[in-house]
């Protein structure tokens, strides 16, 4: 009995001590690791593929989840350090230099992993559009029958304002069996309307439809909100111009414009009659009422 009690005590002390030491080492390591700019990838894609032989799909999943966590961790670190919400449309604030190699390893291990290419196509262009293009071209080489990758590659070229190239990519993708009809239409619109807002809106809608990823959907939603804000601004600025031409000065308050904004695309807050942006924050009249801007608390990207 006495012996058992001593053993149980030793067991508790042993585990307790090990857990305490493990936490202490972790905390120490955490502090020193934060001094390093970023963790390194020790294994290249082809090397990882050889090392994992029959288990390359599982290894690809591991690298995929690591890629997602890498971005997630960077967002959390940014929010902790800058005490504010991170805007997914400003990824350049995050130092995501490992994302491209991580996605490259993922897609080398599993070249048919389409969501990894899609994720790279949406996130990478803001950081390094060349890396995004090379990832997508690799994906197209491995999956020549996947029209969705052409859609994403076209989107990257469109973002780079290389409208002719974007149009060619959409046209090539449209020829693939099973490609939806809007791919060919998009190719034509890229050539004709180039950087027009309606083209942007359609691209973002298609991107959102084709992805299951929450981050991608959130990012696209922000892009769409920005397009809505730009459209709203055009309507309100036209209304201000009209007011100015009638009265010879800019409106002093929203109440001066409300009547002219009714029946337009602008949403009006019924409680105070102010127009609101896509994040339902009121717009601000600036420059003596001659222009408008977003509220400082608005979540619409500028």
């Amino acid at each position: 009995m006495k012996n058992s009690a001593a053993l149980i005590l030793l067991l508790v002390l042993g585990f307790g001590g090990a857990i305490w030491l493990s936490r202490w080492i972790e905390n120490r390591r955490g502090r020193s690791a934060s001094q390093l700019d970023a963790e390194q990838l020790y294994v290249s894609g082809p090397a990882a593929k050889r090392l994992t032989f029959a288990f390359n799909g599982l290894a690809a999943d591991w690298y995929w989840m690591r890629s997602l966590q890498y971005v997630g961790r960077k967002v959390i670190d940014y929010e902790d350090n800058s005490a504010g919400q991170f805007d997914l449309n400003d990824l350049s604030k995050l130092d995501l230099n490992l994302l491209s190699p991580l996605l490259n390893v993922t897609t080398t291990l599993d070249p048919q992993f389409i969501p990894a290419y899609q994720y790279g196509a949406v996130i990478l262009p803001e950081l390094n559009s060349d890396a995004a293009i090379s990832l997508l071209e690799k994906g197209i080489a491995a999956n020549p029958s996947s029209w969705i990758l052409y859609h994403h590659l076209g989107y990257i070229y469109w973002q780079r304002r290389e409208y002719d190239k974007a149009s060619d990519v959409y046209a090539t993708g449209a020829k693939i069996a099973g490609a939806p009809g809007w791919m060919a239409a998009m190719s034509a619109r890229m050539k004709a309307d180039r950087g027009a807002r309606d083209v942007a809106r359609e691209i973002y809608h298609r991107l959102s439809e084709s992805s299951n990823d929450k981050t991608v959907k959130e990012m696209v939603a922000k892009h769409l909100m920005r397009l809505d804000w730009l459209d709203d601004r055009d309507v309100i600025q036209a209304s201000i111009k009209n007011y100015h031409s009638r009265f010879g000065h800019c409106p002093s308050a929203w109440s001066d414009l409300v009547a002219s904004l009714h029946g337009t695309r602008i949403r009006i807050d019924e409680t105070n009659g102010w127009p609101v942006d896509p994040s339902v924050m009121p717009y601000r009249l600036i420059n003596g009422g001659c222009d408008i801007d977003l509220d400082e608390h608005s979540t619409v990207p500028r």
Partner: protein
């Protein structure tokens, strides 16, 4: 003759069950359940692919461990316990004894693989909240994993017919690893300028099992199934290869002196 072989196979299966070999299914079940519950959060909508990768990889890994560690001990345990003498004193040939042992372990593996396959299918049904074509499409890959395990078991049995369990485990593991690099063996041979080196690599390429034929876990996770011809060819390859290995093991085992 068949009844005697079946009796040895049945005993080998019962022994494996008594040795709690099938307890690995508990670990597998925990892995799949945890995967099905937690992967949704981590994988950004890719939980079905990851469940298939995880489930089939675990099936192969657990199966290979069983094939190696149980396979190498099949003959050795009988010699160690001296039960082999009692068996061979009966009208049972040494080849028959080996075949019975092999079939017994193959039966253990088939039970293991079927239960694990059902586990993966149930996890997929849970994730998709109903029927998904992927549930059916993983089964050809499961069949090929089983064929690969049959080859690994035969390799283990061959080594155990003349070597110690430790060495047999090591050699079988090497064959399993090299079997997944057989394409490299061929390309190494082709890129060599020296004729003997070419022959050596060609010989190794054809003598060692080409296990890349059975690596269809990654395509299965994308719902891609092999065409009927390549599936049949891979299964036929396994039958021929296993037959050759069992014949070699019998030839060696017949010449062994147990006095």
């Amino acid at each position: 003759m068949l009844t005697r072989t079946a009796a040895i196979a049945g005993n080998t299966f019962r022994e494996a069950v008594r040795d709690r070999v099938l307890y690995n299914l508990v670990l597998f079940a925990l892995l799949i359940i945890a995967g099905a519950i937690f992967l949704g959060e981590l994988s950004a909508g890719q939980e079905a692919k990851i469940i298939v990768d995880l489930g089939l990889s675990a099936m192969l890994l657990f199966g290979v461990f069983i094939a190696i560690f149980i396979g190498v001990a099949l003959v050795y345990k009988e010699i160690e316990r001296r039960t082999l003498y009692a068996i061979l004193a009966k009208p049972i040939g040494r080849g028959q004894f080996l075949l019975g042992k092999y079939l017994g372990l193959s039966l253990t593996l088939v039970v293991n693989v079927i239960i694990m396959g059902l586990g993966v299918s149930i996890a997929l049904l849970y994730i998709r909240r109903g029927w998904d074509p992927l549930v059916a499409r993983v089964w050809p890959a499961i069949l090929l994993i089983y064929a690969e395990l049959l080859i690994v078991t035969a390799v283990a049995l061959l080594f155990s017919s003349f070597s110690s369990p430790a060495l047999s485990s090591l050699l079988t593991f090497f064959v399993f690893v090299i079997g997944h690099f057989s394409a490299d063996l061929k390309s190494l041979g082709a890129s060599s300028a020296s004729m003997p080196t070419r022959w050596l690599f060609s010989a190794l390429y054809y003598l060692l099992p080409n296990l890349t034929n059975y690596s269809l876990i990654t395509p299965a996770a994308h719902g891609v199934t092999p065409d009927a011809r390549s599936l049949a060819a891979s299964l036929a390859y396994a039958v021929f290869y296993v037959a050759a290995l069992l014949a070699s093991a019998s030839l060696i085992f017949r010449r062994r002196n147990f006095k």
